[in-house]
Assembly symmetry: C3
Homo-oligomer: 466 residues x 3
């Protein structure tokens, strides 16, 4: 092959030559801007301790359930793909390379290919090398001192990286990084209390007892619980957090009075809550989280609509995050209304709404974000953070809300080395979308040069209060 | 800037040069055809009395909740945007001009920019002038005698303009215009009985008492109510009305027997109807409206799926139509069935179905319109009456139903000066869609020249019996 | 017209010259591959007996409810379009030709036009000839010996053609064709038990009594019923069947214990089952069908989400398949879960999921097929088996699941002469989609040449175990 497609400077840009040329020039404007990643799942300790990355399979295959799921779909047991199994890393890598053709056309394939090209400089497509050759080439890179997390953080031009953390995490790594004069990036914690709000969570009871004990200021029961949540949020704010994230089944919100809430809370504590109670309590706690966000300033982000761990036997054998979280239909308009009635116009309240159901982009989210000062459109997420889907998102929301109401790109990843590829893809798509509007004389080219900076750089800073 | 994008003759046309050239030629075929606007919200009295338009802010900003909502989302209180508030018009205009960059890429921005260019001939983009300069330039135009409604009606090449009217309106303005030999346009009333059919409407009780009193032919109760509706529809027909429009929560329809209907009617009159009763009665009245349409020939149009006045505090402070009507999921297939069982093939019955939920375009509306002789596809409406959304509509429905089953463009606007911009945008999109089919050898170019005339001109005449 | 659009070698290919040129080369790679049609509705007896096709109207108009529905929508009574009515064939054909302009832009129009050009070699568009001239030209062709089904089967380059059959069909035609040394194609039966599983089906009771009698091995009641279904599936397998197809209201699945199932079964037999029972039993039987598929290897295909016979008066007058099967919203994630819990990773189980609701492509089906080894994406079906809709499908699913998880094209047709046009259209769309990915440097051109063979040829062989 004359040139790797991953190295092509025009990759992801529109085919029409006139539009592509506009897109190129827009892309140039933002290509070297720093990466701002306000939501993701990298482990702060890895950066604190500058832990060397493990072998290629343990870095790129085993922990990435977007990669393992598609290989699993082709009939390969997860046993053969998971670290800690009988299979060794090189064997996992061989299995992955054999499955590599499955990834053509996928977002995961794009990110991987871009990493192989620009981070690991393999120089050829994975399919053109032997599995052992690519394994050895990447493994060699991983042993180089420049391939430690802190150097990559710098090389990747990351300015802000948010992690996702348990409310009782002591955030020692975040503190250490903030206090380290030799580290210039910002690694910020994110408050993620799902396992303390969802009473059906297997460890909810244990979690809340620990929470109340640790931070309830001596109060017990429901009021101690609320107090502890408020205190831990403060703790996060004090350690640099800018947002609280909520993975919920639906975006339902509800204001219960304290007595009603307390009653469900105690039922749940006694193990007697029904499925209806679970939904009611989560909806109420979303309302409470909004109230607290108004008070402490944490941006509130909501990720609803995923049926987690769809295949029980796989969950039983391998646990969560093993590739079978399946989206379902989401409806925001009525569900989010109780929250917005009371906080939709609250000063400095920022509420970022995500969806895995594309139908709400034009139908509900754009109209909501086009009226409520608090509401921002979450960038396309899981399965939708791909070129065509990101273009569908822009097409669906822009005519109603313009460019000012979206969150900026969210990589949402635990795959540290994929971060530049993901942000690069997003910038190419923003350039492509804007280039079409310019080519169709819907936005002037001068203005498009301002807008692309706004969506890539200013939006995440503004929305996440960075 | 060398040339304003609003003045570009190729605006909204596809970027591919070959397709654009076909689109240009199709557009030329229809660019000078008269405007037919079978559904909108202009006030007939303004045309009757040829009332001069007020100042720029009171014409273009304050009454247009598609404009104010987006400025509101950016954090500006509606107080600062509404006529009659402490703020004067020039101050409102300054606020608007400051917010103008928010509108890039939006449909509202496109219509405004086109008006500034072609109606007010500003000669520069709003962002390139001071707010006072643009205010003064537009205000000066508004004082010119040629800027009175009747002259603009003529200059805009409007042939038919339908208004939206209360069933008890005496339609004096419509009558006066019809009788005025110096006025050549057609200004037609539209029967809009929502506030008489929805028993949850705050003034329903008062409305129906007035209705029965005025037109019940002496009958009382439910039968007087039906009689009065029939009579007022006749009155509208006699004053030129061609359609009756229905803004409903859902497209549910239901045939109650007279006793059941009467029972709910009396419960509602006594203030004792439940939410369920409200839905049942509205569904039943949709059935009744269809029956009356079959009898009196008024085209029936249905606009479902909007959660009106989503933010109660804003509604309490500023009333309806203040930017927070938020769509939600709509399902037509089962809901509309009772009506279609009895009237779906009724002679000369025309039923135009609109949606704010794009998912029903391909799934339900195109299949319904592709079988029932009565069913026509309402053009993309609110939030969807924008270039990309209109293309998605055509793409979603055409492969199933072709071009013969759609209503033609509906501007649905109260912003009189935006009417040419809206129809022009629609024609450009129809040309763009057809040009792609020609370029892909799916429709011959000769046939496309016929089809564009059909969709722009013949469809609205045929569907709305003009 | 210089050249018929149906004869244009670039028809359906993208307008952008660079992308089109890639698409052309990809199309060339697959244009001459044999047709594999794993699901459709051709009558095997017609091929067995090599029955001459009847006249043009009886071949192309009357039996095709995708054609008659759109003419019906234009106000023509079905009486004037149906064989066996007072109207003769030539009169039906004249009505059809008069309505021909309605089909511009539709999938049905495209298939018809392609047939007129390439099967019947009319040499001009239908609209450019008199109705009688086209009738006579086609009728003359139909009298030629080369226009008999077996010769066309060969000329169309059909390798595999699956029919859809009643479980009690003796499959004599399939057997005869398999045993006929002069016939080289494969004509395979498909097990379609809807009328034996849906207890609301008007002839369910009679059907199951016949079934149990014929194949229950002497057992009676529910166990005889299950046994008979298993036996008939075996019979189909022995006669070459590779799949069992299920037209269901929703994709609900449920595992009842035998006692619960038997109870509903007996209630239904006694005519006392409720609507809820109907749904429960169908869901349970979908579970049972999956169990049997795991055991006997038949690929399981599910077609949910159609409201059959929407217009009761038309159904009463003309029966089923008369153009008013209307889709509605479908949700797979929770519905299909009980089945997937137990069989989602079962060895060699293939489950092909279809939808008439596009929203589940990206939201549910791609994520399901991207994890479960059993799940395959059904190709776009009814109303969605059209160029733009097929492109939307590829765009919606590929970024999540790549190319390996789809069924390959399904023509699902009873219109034998349209089969080549349908497969040709699909190949053109696959080439168009892949060409865009190549032009955007997302897939290499070499790889695209492999992928198009995979999606056109290898996928249906792999998924349907051919």
């Amino acid at each position: 092959m004359s040139q790797s497609i991953a190295a092509n400077p025009d990759r992801l840009l529109p085919a029409d030559p006139g539009t592509r040329s506009i897109a190129r020039s827009l892309l140039e404007r933002v290509q070297d801007l720093p990466i701002i990643s306000p939501h993701g799942h990298v482990d702060a300790a890895v950066i604190e301790h500058n832990t060397p990355f493990p072998d290629p399979a343990a870095l790129l295959v085993s922990p990435d359930h977007y990669v393992t799921r598609l290989i699993h779909a082709s009939g390969v047991s997860l046993d053969r793909l998971r670290a800690g199994s009988a299979t060794d890393s090189r064997e996992i890598w061989r299995t992955f390379v054999q499955a590599w053709p499955l990834f053509d056309g996928t977002a995961s394939g794009y990110w991987l290919r871009t990493q192989f090209e620009s981070v690991f400089t393999l120089g050829a497509d994975l399919g053109e090398m032997s599995a052992d050759a690519s394994y050895d080439a990447i493994a060699a890179k991983l042993r180089e001192p420049d391939f430690r997390p802190r150097q990559l953080f710098k090389d990747f031009n990351i300015e802000v990286l948010a992690t996702t953390d348990d409310p009782l995490d002591n955030l020692a790594s975040h503190r250490a990084l903030a206090d380290d004069p030799s580290f210039n990036g910002r690694v910020l914690p994110t408050f993620r209390p799902d396992a303390y709000l969802n009473i059906a969570h297997p460890s909810w009871s244990a979690n809340i007892e620990r929470l109340i004990e640790a931070a309830g200021d001596g109060a017990t029961g429901y009021s101690g619980y609320l107090q502890a949540l408020e205190n831990r949020r403060r703790y996060f704010v004090d350690h640099g957090a800018v947002s609280a994230d909520h993975g919920v089944l639906t975006p339902a919100t509800l204001k219960l009075d304290a007595a009603e809430a307390e009653q469900i809370f105690e039922l749940a504590r006694a193990g007697k809550a029904s499925a209806q109670d679970r939904n009611t309590f989560e909806a109420h706690m979303m309302y409470q989280m909004a109230r607290m966000s108004v008070e402490d300033g944490l941006v509130m982000t909501i990720h609803p609509g995923s049926f987690r761990n769809h295949h029980q036997p796989t969950f039983d054998a391998y646990g969560a995050d093993t590739g079978h979280d399946i989206p379902f239909a989401t409806n925001y308009t009525e569900a989010i209304r109780p929250l917005l009635q009371d906080f939709g116009t609250a000063k400095d309240f920022h509420l970022v709404l995500f969806t895995l159901d594309e139908t709400v982009f034009s139908r509900e989210l754009a109209p909501l974000a086009g009226f409520y000062p608090s509401v921002y459109l979450g960038a396309p997420w899981w399965f939708l953070d791909a070129p065509d889907a990101m273009l569908r998102f822009r097409s669906a929301v822009t005519e109603t809300t313009g460019f000012s109401r979206s969150s900026g790109f969210i990589d949402d990843t635990r795959a540290f080395c994929s971060i530049p590829a993901r942000h690069d893809a997003s910038r190419r798509i923003e350039a492509s979308f804007l280039a079409r509007l310019v080519a169709e004389h819907r936005v002037s080219e001068d203005r498009a040069h301002e807008l692309i900076v706004d969506v890539v750089d200013s939006s995440p800073r503004r929305v996440f209060k960075l």
